[in-house]
Symmetry: C2
Subunit: 327 residues, 2 copies
DNA sequence: CTGAAAGCGCTTACAG
DNA sequence: CTGAAAGCGCTTACAG
């Protein structure tokens, strides 16, 4: 392995000068620069990043903590993070937390010891002490807002109102809202948005708490549809729940969208694979990941950034689980 | 930050002794061990992994290179890799290659410089020189077998034969096989398996090359179904293609499974969310990832492992896109 | 069984 | 503008 000493020797300068040249820090005369450049090229020298890290305490590594990469929301996020990170010369470490504070804390701590440069986190524990004491750049995604931690999220509330209106405009008279878990901020925002839109509409509605899980959602919707035969619209707080609702409806022989219209939230790829295609409030997950990564890297590199909250607009995707608007 | 020197001083021994104690390497007397243990505890000392890495050239980091984490096959793989890695004290770096040899090579090289300990790779470039010259433990997943690189894969050929037989047993008279890309080993194996089963059946069949991509598959199947009205069975080499086929059939008003039966391959979660549920040849992706990770770590830790090829059995999941077997 | 010392390969005040 | 030297925090022959 050729080291900085070899380069220095060949170029006839000190290692300090080589280091300065390599890092573009401090003064290096034109002649010295030329000699070093030639030596680097000739020896095919490449700086050893581990040795550098020991000094700088930086590694160009960032951690991405998600509850579970297997949840269809997260792969696209991970992709965006990785793409942008690569652009800036960073590499990403993937961590599944299972929403388990201990696992999260453990990752945070072991990676910090490894001089990781920062974290992008989707977590409900952001107010926990192990975050407050991190002294490392962190950006929160999707969930939790904390005055110390920049956050990027969809405009969940407005999006949910939009989704609700899709159902209202299409003549639904009794709407079932599949509300997400109460400990999730985005789920609560979506609930607010639903309420914003439904409140003054005069339309009947039911609210049922429902995890973002296919089989559970199917079971819950099956029960509710049996009890309330006149439900003609479902707004699910996630596409996975919407898929469960569709499955339940199909098994009960309820025609979608003729007897029952369904709108989801998320915009995951599965939505268009269903038949009929799922009408949904699509989040721009890729954009969220991209923004989060840029914000994080700015912080890592000590660039000033005033903004603390980044809202990414959602977009309606009208597909086959809703009818044409009645004139 | 408390260092090994602090511990040595407090324990009244040399740093060499502390290091030996910490790494359980070389002799340490009972007394010395006790003193060091006490000092470690009192100072809450934690070894600096970066400093260690500079010496050992090991980092407890492994790289996972996949074409695209967004492809529904890979999140579960990533999950398995991460779970097992964590168990052994390793952390995983996620790399999307887009099947691009340059990107792959770039990751391999930059991470090698960072003293990454090994790679789990899903790639078609495994015979490329940058792999041969790696001198780092590598395990291949799903694709490509190379006498120097251990591989874990499904029994694709047998699985495809099983899937084909599902259609044959249910009375299909003309089967369309959606063959995957020709540069993919697993796709070729599945093609062989299809041929194994169809050859002597006397049943008519067509083979069309079709990427593992939803919209493309839909388009291709739409065309074929228009041209050949008597096709009554489709075996797709991937679930995503099967979903495209189902969409095409639905748009053409072809009833599944009454007029057309469909079988997929992969077993991704989306399959059960479709209506009717997708009958498929399910791979045990999690198990593949888990095995690959264990094999890799064994190699990293220089444990002997004779076996070079690990085959993970597939499992039929009969759902709604196929009929009951005719008696 | 133990310690002094060299070494892993870099960066960074500091003096000149 | 440059170099000698200390330092980042560990590991590992080697001599005893």
């Amino acid at each position: 392995m050729t080291t900085i000493r070899d380069v220095a020797k060949k170029a006839g300068v000190s290692v300090a000068t080589v280091s300065r040249y390599l890092n573009d820090s401090g003064y290096v005369s034109g002649d010295a620069a030329k000699a070093v450049a030639a030596a680097v090229k000739e020896l095919k020298y490449e700086l050893n990043p581990v040795a550098r890290s020991l000094n700088t305490k930086k590694t160009n590594l960032i951690g991405l903590i998600v509850p579970d990469i297997t949840n269809p929301f997260f792969p696209e996020l991970a992709r965006a993070v990785e793409d942008v990170a690569l652009t800036y010369g960073y590499t990403v470490i993937l961590c599944n937390s299972d929403e388990n504070p201990e696992k999260e804390k453990n990752y945070l701590e072991t990676l910090k010891k490894k001089y990781i440069d920062g974290f992008i986190v989707t977590s409900n524990q952001l107010d926990a002490p192990h975050y407050a004491n991190m002294a490392l750049p962190i950006v929160a995604l999707d969930r939790a807002i904390n005055e110390h931690i920049p956050t990027v999220a969809s405009n969940n509330r407005e999006g949910a109102a939009m989704g609700t209106r899709v159902l209202l405009e299409r003549g639904c008279k009794r709407i079932l809202f599949l509300r997400g878990p109460e400990e999730l901020n985005p789920a609560n925002d979506r609930y607010e948005g639903f309420m914003d839109a439904i409140r003054d509409s005069g339309v009947e509605y039911d609210v049922v708490v429902c995890p973002f899980h296919f089989a559970d959602s199917e079971k819950i919707v099956d029960r509710v549809l049996r009890e309330h035969k006149n439900i003609d619209g479902i707004f699910a707080s996630s596409d996975v729940s919407a898929a469960g609702a569709l499955k339940a409806a199909a098994k009960l022989g309820i025609a979608v969208p003729d007897e029952l219209q369904v709108v989801g939230f998320d915009g995951i790829a599965m939505g268009e694979m269903l038949t009929p295609g799922l009408t949904t409030v699509a989040q721009d997950v890729y954009k969220m990941g991209a923004i989060a990564t840029r914000v994080l890297i700015k912080r890592i590199e000590n660039q000033v950034e005033e903004q603390h909250f980044f809202e990414v607009p959602v977009q309606l995707k009208i597909r086959g689980t809703t009818r044409s608007v009645e004139k």
